[in-house]
Amino acid sequence: MSQAPVAAGTRTQRAWAVLATVLDPEVPALSLRDLGIVRDVRDGGAALEVVLTPTYSGCPATEVITQSVVDAIAAAGLGPVTVTLQRAPAWTTDWISDDGRRKLRAYGIAPPGPVDAAAGVPIRLVGRRAAPAIACPRCDSLQTERLSAFGSTACKALYRCLACREPFEHFKPL
């Protein structure tokens, strides 16, 4: 089969567009680009190279995501592709796009606030001062309380809204 040569920019641009359609298997409201884990797409001539940053060290979705990228790039006729996992700099929830944050809220997950660059995650080892209020993604009330620091996945905490009485999840700043 003969194919017209594709300009490098076009091929990587098309790959970026494809990656905007590949969903995170654990938070299927977000694409990999919304999640901010795509670092680079390089055209190596024979094969494309997609560079991803893993989210959590033990995230069980990492292997699924890698395979989804390979499948989606191949289905778009842009293959073959290799996926490289790049650990540094470490992924942060600050890389979730504004569009991604909007999609999270619409999906019923309160998006993460900004990570304090100096302190990382704010730690309060003593005292029972309440953590900063998280707005309910359904009714926007700040009258919410945390039920558990860990939810259905390591990246989320369980909350409930005291105004509309609905439970919800919060994507923790990392």
Partner: protein
């Protein structure tokens, strides 16, 4: 049965194994809570932390295998070593105990790991620095979770307080091993691979001490007992745990998901 792998021990390898095995073995112990947590939310929280730890162990054991020189992979290192080649401090292999024991141990270990990761993020080994840069964020959440529970149980009911004080008495004698200086640590400090564990002792005492004070718990007096897991000489609890950990790979060599 698949034969065990034999390692060429160097200070560098032992340093990496101490970190990797601390994560692996505590991850295994926390995983044992799955289906047994006191409430569903805590069952899930412990499983999530176990996943983080095992993810960290995978990265560290992969790095350890690369430096060992014979291309052992993470699975070979996790599942095919003899007991004496595991280099975790004894503290993390103790049976999971009750929930008070588990959250107190988590506080002691998460505080240690958080402080180590902060320094390891500057390691001369770029891969170790990258692993640490990610893991430190996770360890902060582990430490926060443990601290919340230690205070809640220590400053709780008579029963929770009694159990908390009993757990602390059991755990405290395994603490000195964490900060014992030896040639492995000296080599790591000299090459820039990472800090001596003793280098974080003062910060560890300050952070753990603050939580225990808030919880109204008093550490017991120091004892002369010294555990020796970091040198490969483990407690009687290690063997049965490894039997369970290794059983699948020993019975079905090379088996993968």
């Amino acid at each position: 049965m698949t034969a065990s792998i034999q390692l060429h021990h160097t200070p560098q390898l032992q340093y990496l194994l101490r970190l990797g095995d601390t994560c692996l073995i505590l991850g295994q112990r926390l995983g044992e809570w799955t289906g047994h947590g006191p409430v569903l939310e805590e069952d899930i929280a412990l499983a999530n932390m176990a996943l983080d730890l095992i993810g960290q162990a995978r990265a560290l054991l992969t790095r350890a295998g690369q430096t060992e020189g014979r291309a052992f992979d993470e699975d070979q290192l996790a599942f095919l070593r003899d007991e004496r080649d595991y280099r975790n401090p004894t503290l993390v292999e103790l049976p999971r105990g009750d929930f008070a024991f588990t959250v107190q141990r988590n506080l002691l270990v998460a505080t240690l790991l958080k402080l180590l990761w902060q320094k390891l993020a500057e390691s001369s080994d770029a891969e170790l620095a990258a692993i640490a840069g990610k893991a430190v964020k996770e360890a902060r959440y582990h430490q926060q979770h443990a601290a919340d529970w230690v205070v809640r149980l220590g400053d709780g009911t008579d029963e929770s307080r009694r159990r908390s004080q009993a757990a602390l008495a059991q755990l405290w004698r395994y603490v000195p091993e964490l900060f014992e200086a030896d040639a492995v640590d000296e080599a790591a400090a000299a090459t820039g691979l990472g800090p001596r564990w003793a280098d974080v002792q003062a910060d560890w005492q300050a952070e753990v001490g603050a939580v225990l004070a808030e919880a109204g718990l008093t550490p017991p007096a120091a004892s002369a007992f010294r555990s020796t897991g970091k040198r490969g000489v483990h407690s009687e609890h290690m063997g049965p745990m490894l039997a369970e950990l290794q059983q699948l790979q020993r019975s079905y060599p090379g088996g993968v998901w």
